[in-house]
Point group: C2
């Protein structure tokens, strides 16, 4: 009952087969007589056999495990949802997941990866921004990045640029006279930087007057609120009459802006139009459901696994031909026109 110590040897003895045949029963059942399959099957039940994957991994080299590196604080809607989606792929792909959360420190993250490698994970999904993709590419296993710098690794991202174009165009169609972008001042290597670029390009294309409010990335709600509060006061002071369209880099921050306005006016005045990005739950669950551009998190997660699993399979072949070309899959975002736009 307590400690199960039934091994292939025991099953072999019990059934008068060899260990090899027992192994075949699991890995290559077709190569075993139906009759003998049945015998083994009952033996497994009789002896209450439990698999030992560790032995299997040591012998075969395949762990059926994937490592995930989450970013510093994944205590936010987007990353939680993504992790959830990644874990949910288990029934489809059979890969188990070992999960680490980085803390922004590259040394530590390196150690995490060494651990993962020591456990013989077959691939890595990296959401943290800490390590340059060049270093990630140097490890001996396939790596897929999600919404991160990806010059040297495969990656999946949402279409930040086209999505941000859609958002900006919606504000323009809403007849906003002046457009604003509020967001973090991100390095150009991070995919969401393109939201900013798309905003500027679209404004230029439609020749709409616009202004950028960029701030440094902060981690707490309070710090974010203080920053966005300043931005909003500045906007109100300088444009007291015009119809204004504000594109906020992500829903978390859009939610903060909305709250600031609601606290002041008790409602969202018609002259302010707001759109966020990500389709985070909070965008639907705000007092005023907020317009946003939807990342298809489920599709992103599934695509990341598709790429990783394919790459893993490729390397298992006799003459592996690891895709020389890096794959940078872009997932089309979806515009959600809700109550903060017309």
């Amino acid at each position: 009952m307590a400690e199960n110590k039934v091994t292939f040897s025991d099953i072999a003895k019990y059934t008068c087969f060899s260990k090899t045949t027992i192994s075949r029963y699991f890995n290559n059942p077709e190569s075993v007589t139906l009759e003998n399959q049945a015998k083994i099957e009952t033996a497994l039940k009789e002896l209450n056999y439990k698999k030992n994957k560790i032995a299997k991994i040591l012998a075969s080299g395949h762990s059926e495990c994937i490592g995930i590196i989450m970013p510093t604080l994944f205590y936010d809607d987007y990353h939680s949802a993504m992790l959830n989606q990644l874990l949910s792929t288990y029934p489809d792909y059979g890969y188990k997941f070992m999960v680490f959360t980085g803390h922004g420190d590259i040394q530590t993250e390196r150690k995490y990866i060494q651990e993962l490698l020591a456990y013989k994970v077959e691939g890595l999904i990296v959401l943290s921004h800490t390590m340059p993709s060049e270093e990630l590419a140097g490890y001996s296993i396939p790596v897929v990045g999600i919404e991160r710098e990806d010059r040297h690794i495969h990656s999946v991202r949402s279409g930040n640029y086209p999505g941000a174009c859609l958002a900006t165009e919606l504000l323009i169609q809403n007849h906003c006279e002046k457009l604003f972008f509020i967001g973090r001042d991100l390095p150009a290597t991070i995919p969401s930087h393109r939201r900013m670029e798309a905003f500027e390009d679209t404004c230029d294309r439609y020749q709409v007057s616009h202004k950028m409010y960029l701030h440094k990335a902060v981690n707490s709600y309070e710090e974010n609120r203080d920053i966005i509060m300043k931005n909003f006061l500045d906007i109100e002071k300088n444009y007291p009459k015009e119809k204004l369209g504000i594109f906020v880099e992500n829903d978390t921050q859009a939610h903060i802006l909305l709250n600031i306005i609601l606290r002041k006016y008790g409602k969202l005045p018609k002259r302010f139009r707001i759109i966020g990005f990500d389709d985070s739950p909070i965008s639907r669950e705000s007092v005023i459901p907020t317009s946003t551009v939807g990342q298809q998190i489920d599709v992103i997660a599934k695509t990341a696994l598709d790429i990783l699993v394919a790459e893993i399979a490729e390397r298992k072949k006799r003459r592996p031909n690891p895709s020389a070309e890096l794959i940078h899959q872009i997932i089309t975002p979806i515009l959600h026109n809700r109550e903060t736009t017309d």
Copy 2:
């Protein structure tokens, strides 16, 4: 570069020691001369040795891995935060985590646990409510439950009862004439059921008139909103003048109630006082920062690991004496008096 295949044998040859000594260098360094430690150290670097935990686990039986079973949808603040905290214990305890998300199906969850056992995880942390603790207790490894039914396993929970007493008392101190409880109609085995009990008991103790609104558990924001909307309309209709105190079972639902009121009034009228439970981020990040009772998620996570790790250590001893007594640790919650109460 590509495939590292350096083993203890290689190091042993290179240093003219035996594999045993190499093993000792890692697991019992004191038993190796400082001089020889240095020799081995350089050899490791020269040959670029990488650990292989799988071989170690097979030989030693210890995986340094813990399995986590998350509930159906952990796409909610509370469980995301908890998972984050659990994963963050790695630097302190050294245990790695394999994570599964259940989908409410007991068969599937059983399979997940078999997988975990096949990987020789040394312990289990269970947040999902799917499997009865009796079955969980039947597995050969230590199990700690978090905020779940725990009759046959160790567990950590927040003090739902005392916390809910604090919340109810605050509403009473706010001179609310009539008190309401809005929440899910949970089975008595689930710890948060006690929030409801505490509410009723406290109302009785202070002889305050009160009413319960219990609904079935639903998963979407929209369904929740419809239910709470009905509750609120009922409350307003029947008590148009009195000062009312509403204790909502958790912050997610409290946030929904607050939004309903804000949409209607543009502010939170003084005659409505609201308090939630959990200290979810959303409670601080609502338009009106919402009063709540704080679960100390970090403490809960750390305590769960303390218990599990102690139990694992106990079983490694020669004459294990697994605590006959089940540990049910209760973590004191903290009252956060914010803007939705006086």
